[in-house]
Symmetry: C2
Subunit: 359 residues, 2 copies
């Protein structure tokens, strides 16, 4: 039943078929934040290089991005970067630490929104595209390379709040108090993000993931009024016929109907969304990514295997990219990450998926 | 259509009818964390007295509890306290600051779980019951006084993690790694919390609210396996024929079916749960409390009125206690809290609620 899952020549095709909800021999698997602090090799490199230095040095970014490919065995590499990189290019003073981002001078008024620069991604964040080019060369034509960016609402949360903060009250105050100004900010972020992602696609990204991590903070009504329209415009600008777009939202079960209208090929959801229910509600028109609780990887291996299997059983393995529901935790044992990936690769798909037709 | 909403003699009856989903002339309204940092009068008192000192001095706790009743005009008072007060009585070293709780020596093994003391609430947290008695005398027999406690899962999050932390990975690690030990901890917390709430009821609480703030961190499966059974036992112990039990959960739309099985009379939900959808799914067997986004109170008054009206329209005002979806933010203008309460008190109920039969 299980083909040679380690054959490298089928990983990009496998990933693309999963994104397009086409039959597959097994689900592809990768892990959000797979390059990062739980890996000793990453921590060793970070002893010598600061976080932003790694992001901005293509050789280092590529090296770090490749670590989980070689050590953990994931099916896709994602370029090592941060969703706030373009924010800095827009003129914001940015400090990124392992404990989170901090903006020295948050956006609070229309003058500041107007002052945000429409930067040229080729010129000012060229290191991201260059890291993708180096990564693509390193893994060869048969392994998917994922690019990414923050979605407008999530970026606006950081821009206005200045840091991650429970409920983002300052960002929401602007949204409720000055809705027109907040929309202008979202539109500007959507435009720059579209260009930023196009540069990553031009550099060879197989797919791009849009992180709307804080979408779940919004009510259905406010998501529909503010976040959804700008996300839709952004995705539409990326050329729908081109590379698959994965839209990640956290704790967004209450928004599933709306998130599904954003135009993404794949919805990446967390453990609060039941994959079987999501599939039932959304049908086969959108693939799903996720959704194991990262904390499961702190538990015993049998629990990890079971969680991966259950996720795959809920989708039948069709139109499903196995992943966690949020980034892997720094305290995760490397062996647990390996067990998760192995479980994804070796779980037999239910008979109703026509294996014979797959790749 | 609107009776004299400020007539004090009907508030307790109104509140109890709402808890029991009986017809009302208008919805009752109060605000989570209504006694607190957004009130200048509270901040003035806190200049002289530390947080825990206020909690443990019945006169001060009662004074602070009454402030929003007089200043903002809420329909119910809730005793000023903290969900971690009983944790201290169980033997945990506790530091409570305005920025959150911190436990010096978190619970990490079976010896520590066994060492947690089954305290006597009359003896060791008698100040809470005494504050409720003083409050009840101060407001008279016609105003509801709400007691409260943390639910076992949420208390366990703090006990094991040591502080509020995104995703509570240490608590979840124990849950996944040592499920039997974690259940023992939950059971112990359920037993002590039941006794703690019974003491508050004996002191005169009209209703009690159980805060399961972090329930939304759990998947449906894990909520059902760990949090739900202990919450059910706790509520069952409180004497179902007695005072109404309100169960608060944050970001729990994905758990609504399970939360509704806990045995509470009222489910308090946040802005991520659509009240109309919740009513449709749960029917009239459980009342609803909530659910306006606290950030709405940072916006213009018209938006506040509209949000309150919309919440009431979604329930038809039947079996509905108007509240926020989470605690009021410290940066909220007092006038915004007043506008919210006023909106609740003056919103006409839809004609289908038989006004003539009410109060």
């Amino acid at each position: 039943m299980i083909p040679d899952v380690h054959t490298p020549e089928n990983r990009k095709a496998l990933f693309l078929r999963a994104c397009r909800s086409e039959p597959v021999e097994r689900v592809p698997v990768w892990i959000m934040r797979q390059a990062g602090r739980y890996l000793p090799e990453y921590r060793a490199l970070r002893q010598k290089h600061a976080f932003l230095e790694v992001c901005k040095t293509p050789e280092l970014a590529a090296e770090v991005s490749l670590q989980p490919f070689h050590i953990v065995g994931v099916d896709a590499v994602i370029v090592f970067s941060d969703i706030l990189i373009p924010i800095e290019a827009m003129g914001m003073g940015l400090e990124l630490t392992d404990s989170g981002p901090a903006l020295a001078d948050p956006v609070r008024d229309s003058a500041h929104v107007a002052a945000l620069r429409d930067f040229d991604p080729e010129q000012e964040t060229g290191f991201v595209a260059e890291a993708i080019r180096q990564l693509s060369r390193a893994v060869g034509p048969d392994v998917p390379v994922i690019g990414f960016a923050g979605a407008p609402w999530t970026l606006a949360c950081y821009l206005v709040e200045g840091r991650a903060r429970d409920a983002f009250p300052t960002a929401k105050r602007m949204m409720f108090q000055e809705p027109a100004l907040f929309r202008t900010l979202l539109e500007k972020l959507a435009r720059t993000t579209a260009r930023y992602l196009k540069a990553q696609i031009a550099a060879g990204a197989t797919a791009v993931q849009l992180f709307d991590t804080w979408a779940g903070e919004l009510s259905e009504r406010d998501y529909e009024a503010f976040a959804l329209p700008t996300t839709q415009r952004l995705i539409a600008e990326l050329d729908p016929g081109g590379v698959p777009v994965i839209l990640y939202t956290k704790a967004s079960g209450h928004l599933l109907r709306e998130v599904a209208q954003a135009g993404a090929d794949v919805l990446s959801v967390d453990w609060r969304v039941d994959l079987a229910e999501a599939r039932q509600r959304l049908g086969n028109r959108v693939a799903l990514q996720g959704n194991v609780d990262p904390c499961v990887l702190l538990g015993p291996e049998e629990g990890i295997r079971q969680a991966a299997r259950e996720a795959i059983e809920k989708t039948g393995g069709l139109g499903h990219i196995l992943n966690l529901g949020h980034g892997i935790l720094p305290s995760t044992p490397v062996e647990a990450a390996r067990a998760f990936v192995r479980a994804g690769k070796t779980t037999s798909l239910p008979a109703r998926v026509p294996l014979g037709q797959a790749g």
